[in-house]
Structures are given as C-alpha cells and as structure tokens.
Symmetry: C2
Subunit: 301 residues, 2 copies
C-alpha cells in the first residue's frame, strides 16, 4: 500500500503549493482521492500513469477539493481513454462537472460513471475481491465524507515445505490456499492449518478531510494503519478552526490516539504558517507517530 | 503597455507548462485574458495583485482556456474581495462557472457580472475614457473570439517652453491639453498647435487564440503594435492544424505580414514539440519580428 501526496494545502493559493489530492495504490488499484485545481499537473510531476486511475473519490464540493476534476476528465479524453471511470462524490457533482464539459462540447468518449453520495451514515461505496471502500461522514460546513480504504483478507499462504514433505500434488494448491483440508490417498485428512501460513494482515487507510474535531469518526477508523487527518490550524487559532469547520494539529492527534491508529499524517495546512514542524510538535504532545504530508511525498506501508 | 504570459501551451498537460492565460496592463487596467487551469497560481508566481484585476476576457469554452476561472473567483472571495468583476465570454460561461461555485455553497460576496457573447461580427464590448476592447471573431471548433485592446488617443501634451515664453497662466493648462486655443490679454489668439505637442500614439494589442488560418481577422487587427497569434503546430503538421481548427507558425506569420502588425508573438504550442525555436524560424520565413511566448515572460511596448 502506497500513498502519494499530490497536494496538501488549504484553499488560498501560494506560488508553490497545491490543494488537496492524493493517490492511493492498494492491491493493484490506483485511487485518486480529491482533485484540487492543478491535480493533473501534479500527476504528471509524480509520473503517475493517467490510464491506471479508474476510481476517483471526492470528499466535498469546495473548490480546493474538486476544481481539478473537469481538467483531468478532459485530459483523459485527449489521451484517447476508452476505459470507464467511476467518480464518488456528493450529490451535485455530476451536474457541476458535466456542465463544465458540455459548455465547451468536450464530451467524453469513455464511460463516465458518477456515484452521488448523500447518506449521513457510513456506507460501503465500492467493493471488489481485494478492496472495500467506506465513507466516513465528517463534520464540515458542507456535506463531506472521508473515505476508509480496507484491503480484504487475502488467501492463506502455501507452506511450501509442508506440502512438499507430504508429497501433495500441485493440483490441490489452489484449494489449499482457499482454506480447504486435503485427504491423502492413504485416506488421512490433513488440516489446512498444517499446510498454510496466515495471509499478511490486511492494511487500511483512512482519509479525513475536511472536518472539525468529531469523535464520531473514531469507531469507523479504529486501528487503521494510516490515518490522514486534516490539521488546517494550530491550537493558537483554535477558535478559527471551530468557526470554519476545521481541526487543529492537537485535535487531529487526539482522534489518532483515541482511535489507536498506527500512524497519523497531518495536512491541509493553512498557508498562514511558514514552519510545518510546528504542526508535528503540537500533535506529538498527544500522539507519537506523526508524519507531515508534503506535496510530492510518499508513504509506504 | 505590458503583456505578461502566464501560460502559453495547448491542452495536454506536462509537468511544467501552463495552459493559456495572459495579463495585459494598459492605461492602469489589468486585464486577464483567458484563464486555464492553474492561472491563480501563475498570478501568484508573477506577483500580480489579484485585487487589481477587474475584467476577465475568455476566448472560448475549451477547458485549457477557462477551467481556472472557478478557482480564481473562489480565491477572490477568500481574499475578501468587495469590488466587482466583469467576465466577458461565450454564452454558457455563466451557467458553467456559477454551477461550480453554487454546488459547494461558495457564493461570491462581490458583484460578479457576466457579459455573455454570441455575436458573429466584431463588437465593442468594453469601453472607458482610456481604453476600448473589441471582439475578433475567430474560426475554431467552438464559438471563439479573440480580443483587440486599443488605447484611446490621450490628451495633447503641454509644450512647457512655449507656455512659459508666452506667460500663459496655469489656469489655462487644462483647456490647452484638451486642444483649445488661448486668447491673451492683448487680444492675440494663440493656436493650440503652438502650445502643445502630439500625444503619444495609442497602442494596441490583438489576441488571437484559438483559431484556424483566417484572413477575415486581418482588417480588424491591421497595424496593431502587438499581435499574439496561436501557432499550435508547425507546417509539418499542417493537416492536423486544419483538422483541429488551429494554425501553424507559418500561417500565424502570414496573418502578421498581411495585417502589417509591428510584432508577432507565437504561442499555444502543442506539447509534442521540444524545441520552440522551430516555431520562430518557421515564422521568420514570412515575417521578421517574431517573439516566442513563454510562461512567465513579459513584453513591454
């Protein structure tokens, strides 16, 4: 599982910062999470193949989280894309994005499938045999969801030494990995646990932006390996965070600590702060394993 | 008069190029011409004060010419803008842009005035006591206008030596600059030409992008000081230019030569070409004073 930060700053632009966008590589998928203005250029800079993206998750409809979408969809078309793309985002996203494309007769020639969200409880919005994605309802000025990405438990791993020792025919391997026992020609039944090892523990990533401090997310993100939680402000601007529906670094760390996550990544920094290390040190008063998102940075689990 | 190129590449993004956007400083105005994705960041990089922009001219509704508009308008709001902004662009621009803002409840708190264009003949779309702006109908795949920016002839300049020699009272200066004669106490009438010098010749800039080769623009842009004419392709891809409603460098130069402009600026390069000097050398076979647009470059007249 690999997370690439394309942009991690809040709305007000500076000369060399980018608004929110991330790419999560998980079990062969390449998921784009949020798509602020300039995301397509950031994808180029990070040398990410556009054609590998098939699912885009948009947290909410503030510009710094989705204004890059019409441009990216237009570019897909210019590049001759034919495979479908799924977009998950709040109700209204389809109308806004398609109006931008239609007005310039920039029709897509690939299937563009919108999955509009409006539930206020967490829901499963995407699933295949390897991954599932749930919404994490957040508390912001407009309807907003975070997203929980969970690997499914994989097949059991063949214990090569054990199957060779027991002279088990390779035609059984497939079923063994699926958890089945084996009956030898002698009639002896071999329990699956003797032939396999546990699969690697499934990994999980929770994306929580934008949000005010909200303990309601805790049961949804408990024990995740990686939590991105916005920290637009430092505690010195606690009131401003409250007013604007954002969090401080300390609040993000409190959520991480209460949810017993492994690692916390901070981001969505207000551009008023010059030294990002202040976010880390404030958060570390509450929670130890704190990382700072930075445009272009990668996190590998 | 100063022209700043914020972006001058065609639609397909690369890691370090920007789509079309320019800022024209003329008689105290700061006009934004086209607004591709990322324009607000380019404005920051060029250290242009957002509050000085009051008029935005959009040539057509392909994404690489207007997808930066919702983000810029949102930022105006974040920065506490109160003064009005005028947007001139094809019919449909209002619906597309306001839908993007409304869906995220990102209302503007400053007057946002759209002037939608649909005329097929050149028209005067903006005028004050110093400048006038006319459309230049272009020939592209969708409804497209270039823009002609013309300074008005200024007041005559006072010939200080002459007025001092004749002991003319300062209270007459205002009228003299407006072209009036003066009657001395002696009764003698002094013709205005003896007291003033010609005002500096008014400057003009024509922006022509995107367009196929079209001689219909020539009478509209004759003798301008500066012509920006798109050259998406080189002659080797002449057929592609024809197919897509774009021009080659040679075609742009031919228009410049026939319209007897002073200087031609090329731009809107396809990202397939690595060496921009090829555009200059192709154009110079037809027209001598050729400049190459580059992101961040300034042209001063």
């Amino acid at each position: 599982m690999k997370l690439q930060i394309l942009g991690c700053y809040s709305a007000t632009p500076r000369a060399f910062t980018n608004p929110t966008a991330q790419v999560l590589e998980i079990k062969g998928h390449l998921f784009l999470i949020d798509c602020g203005e300039g995301t397509q250029v950031q994808l180029r800079r990070q040398k990410i193949k556009f054609s590998r993206i098939k699912h885009i998750f948009i947290s909410h409809l503030h510009g710094d989280h989705f204004f890059g979408l019409p441009g990216l969809l237009s570019t897909f078309r210019l590049l001759g894309r034919e495979t479908e793309i799924h977009i998950y985002g709040p109700k209204g996203i389809k109308q806004a994005v398609t109006t931008m494309l239609k007005v310039g007769q920039a029709w897509t020639n690939y299937p563009l499938l919108f999955h509009e969200l409006s539930a206020v409880e967490s829901e499963l919005i995407m699933e295949d045999d390897k991954v599932e994605v749930h919404t994490i309802p957040l508390k912001h000025r407009v309807y907003t969801n975070g997203f929980l990405f969970k690997e499914k438990i994989g097949e059991r791993k063949l214990d090569i030494d054990a199957v060779l020792n027991l002279n088990i025919d390779t035609c059984y391997y497939r079923n063994i990995k699926k958890g089945k026992d084996v009956v030898l020609e002698s009639g002896e039944q071999i329990a699956n646990e003797r032939l396999t090892l546990d699969p690697p523990p499934p990994k999980s990533y929770a994306f929580c932006s934008d949000t005010a401090y909200s303990e309601q997310v805790i049961p949804l993100i408990e024990n995740v390996d990686l939590l991105y939680h916005e920290s637009t402000f430092l505690e010195q601007h606690h009131d401003m965070a409250l007013q604007t529906g954002h969090s401080t670094a300390k609040q993000a760390a409190t959520i991480a600590e209460k949810a017993k996550v492994d690692t916390l990544i901070l981001g969505h920094y207000s551009t008023r702060y010059k030294d990002l290390e202040l976010f880390r040190s404030e958060a570390q008063l509450v929670f130890d394993k704190v990382e700072l998102a930075e445009d272009g940075k990668e996190f590998v689990i």
